[in-house]
Amino acid sequence: MALLEARGLGLQLPDRSAVQRFGRAPVTSIFSGVDFTVEAGESVGIVGESGSGKTSLARTLLRLYEPTAGSLHFKGRDISRLPEQELRPLRAQFQSIFQDPLSSLNPRHRIGTILAQPLLAYGRVRDRRAGWREAGALLERVGLPPAFVDRFPHELSGGQRQRVGIARAIALKPDLIVADEIVSGLDVSTQAQILVLLRELKTDGALIFISHDLSVVRVLCDRVLVMRQGEIVESGRCAELFANPAQAYTRALLGAIPLPDFDPGWAVRGDPDEERKDQQQEAVKMKIAGSVALVTGANRGIGRSYVKTLLAMGAKKVYAAARDIKGVEDLVKANPGKVEAVRLDVTNEAEAKAAAAKCKDVSLLVNNAGANGSSGALAAGSLDAAHREMTVNYFGVLYLTRAFGPVLKTNGGGAIINMLSVVSRVNIPALGTYCASKAAAWSLTQAARAELAKQGTLVVGIFPGAVDTDMAKGIDMPKLDPNDVASIALKAVETGTEDVDVGDMAQGVAAGLLANPKKVEKEFAAYLPG
């Protein structure tokens, strides 16, 4: 026999906002057709947006409201229309914890009185003194000093008050506790304490836990019901429902939870289901796990990070391409069968073609190799560095994109990552020619993206600020960890994101360019020495 069983439960209340003169208020349906059971000792979460009817449902389950439809059985007994007098003895067996502990604790009573009250009302203790003693023991169970019996609610912090609320709910050792949004007013660390406490106490009885935050429900509950506009739209065991939500609404609820993972695109993206539709039409994405990648300039800096991160993310094989393959020998040795060295000078079109002919299984091309002569455009003595930058940073990308385009096509579309830079978006005159070559590479990225779209190739442009590598040794500013850059770039491939500004500086510049491009230009111009 189930502890609590609701069959076709519904509630209608008069809509007071629509009262007509001399008439009765029209009734409005709060929830309807709610079916579910709670077994002894089980914990069930009810989630939904505000206004979805969760709190009204909770109050009906506690028989604070009388349901207008359906039936509610507690331990086999129909309590849905039981008068209050007959309900009273049963109430000891289902207790509640409310959202706002300040308004649910009598401000003029000491904690001892508050906790002794239910005990006295149900004759569990003989007198007030015994009630207070018991109150002290209850406080200890919820991790508060027993001396708190003498305090008033306003003398406690929010987390402490919520503990008192819990202590009152467990005072009568009920079989069922209904907790309505009891952690949403608390900060993260207090919330964690309360959740851990509830989980410890949970073994004693069943719990119905109401929340809008699915992460919290996941911590505490065995099963979960998802409510929307007064109806249960989905229910199931937590493990299954979270892994594979069937309803778009559930996915939207999950997508709305900000997980503590860095993701600047989150607040820009819309509804995950809408997104999915958009992506089906537009952006392609690709799983790194099982893919075969070729990384240019793999002998140092971000290139090495790419090789390692690719393997960590489950890539099947990585071609570590470098002009001098001695620099990648250790990678090959450390990952036998996984990493293969490829001799490749990106400035040589014939070598690019040869590499494409050799590495036929590549589905991800990482154009990472770069050159930086570190000089102003007009100040430089010789133009060799400027030529070299253009040949590596622009022509190198062009040669490889042309050579590997057909390879990617035969392997199902695949993806290309072009390592651009924040300076693709704006020139730092102190590195004038380098920036110009990176701007050219960005322009080329846009062209490749458009041309390769029809064969289903994703072309990702990565715009990092200064990265902590040999190439940026002389630059004096906060630098990004190359491993972070590589993993962000690869995640962009997995999510089908086309352009990613990586790091504070790059994001600041991108935002600044949107607001006032001239200002950013002037600001960078100021870095020109002398």
Partner: protein, 290 residues
């Protein structure tokens, strides 16, 4: 890039028989166009920082050390009059509780237009037209109707949109948002965060975003400052902080955040040992400085 808001070594003291230190050498910078997250538990001092910047620190407190420079100007000690020009126009504020931040007996219209008329010198009709545009920009439908309504007729999310519209109305250089989404449910929270991000991108405004929720920071902020016990424990780019948190306390906060996607992870409240250690460190600092 020089910072728009530059707080250096700020100390705030509660003037009582036993002076109490509320802020301990707090330094933080907000660059132009940047969103900086200020994270910490209740009592960490994050709201105090914002109140000092806004010049509305409690009357019995006093800045005893350090400076606040905004847009090249020292604003640590301003007169009421000087501050009036700054607040609303150059520094705007989005409060935590949209339920109490609006005057319940005034229509929405006057609450928005008061700000516009004061700072932008608009007349009644001009201010009204501008208010309609602003409400459209925060994606409120039927703005004319909303202007005629009272706060209690709007939902929490709608009220927060009204407050955001007011905050961005005079194109401020800096917006300070103090837990603007804590009172809202996750779905509405996401909409509000998207709105803040959108307005920020369009205007290039800097934002100091105060919250206890590391999740919100991870999605919105470029840079993160972690506070505890009135001092800054860690300050790092968001990318760096979430990839490899530098301070034990940051790691503890992350471990205390429940995540539905990692059911295997044990939820761990902040260890008492750590809290004790931080309190000891704070006491040592006080012995040094006071």
């Amino acid at each position: 890039m020089s910072a728009l808001l530059d707080i250096r070594d700020l100390d705030l003291q509660l003037q009582a028989r036993q002076p109490l230190r509320l802020l301990r050498r707090v330094s933080l910078q907000v660059a132009p166009g940047q969103i900086v997250g200020l994270v910490g538990e209740s009592g960490a001092g994050k709201t105090m920082v914002s109140r000092v910047v806004l010049g509305i620190a409690p009357a019995n407190t006093c800045v005893t050390h350090g400076s606040i420079v905004f847009d090249g100007r020292d604003i640590t000690h301003l007169t009421e009059q000087q501050r009036r020009h700054l607040l609303g126009r150059e520094i705007a504020f989005i409060p935590q509780n949209p339920m109490t931040a609006l005057n319940p007996v005034e229509r929405i219209e006057s609450q928005i237009t008061d700000v516009l008329r004061m700072h932008l010198n608009l007349d009644r009709t001009g201010a009204r037209d501008k208010a309609v545009t602003l409400l459209r920009e925060v994606h409120l439908r039927q703005p004319e109707r909303i202007l005629r309504q009272y706060p209690h007729e709007l939902s929490g999310g709608m009220r927060q949109r009204v407050l955001i519209a007011t905050a961005f109305s005079c194109k401020p250089k800096l917006v300070i948002a103090d837990e603007p989404t804590t009172a809202l449910d996750v779905t509405v929270q996401k909409q509000i965060l998207q709105l803040i991000r959108e307005l920020q991108r369009n205007s290039g405004t800097s934002i100091l975003f105060i919250t206890h929720d590391l999740g919100v920071v991870a999605k919105l902020c470029d840079h993160v400052v972690v506070m505890h016990g009135g001092r800054v424990l860690e300050s790092a780019p968001a990318l760096k902080l979430f990839a490899s948190p530098g301070h034990d306390y940051t790691r503890a906060l992350l471990a205390a955040t429940p995540r539905f996607d990692r059911p295997g992870d044990e939820l761990r409240p902040i260890p008492a040992v750590l809290t004790q250690r931080l309190a000891d460190e704070a006491r040592a600092l006080d012995a040094r400085d006071m």
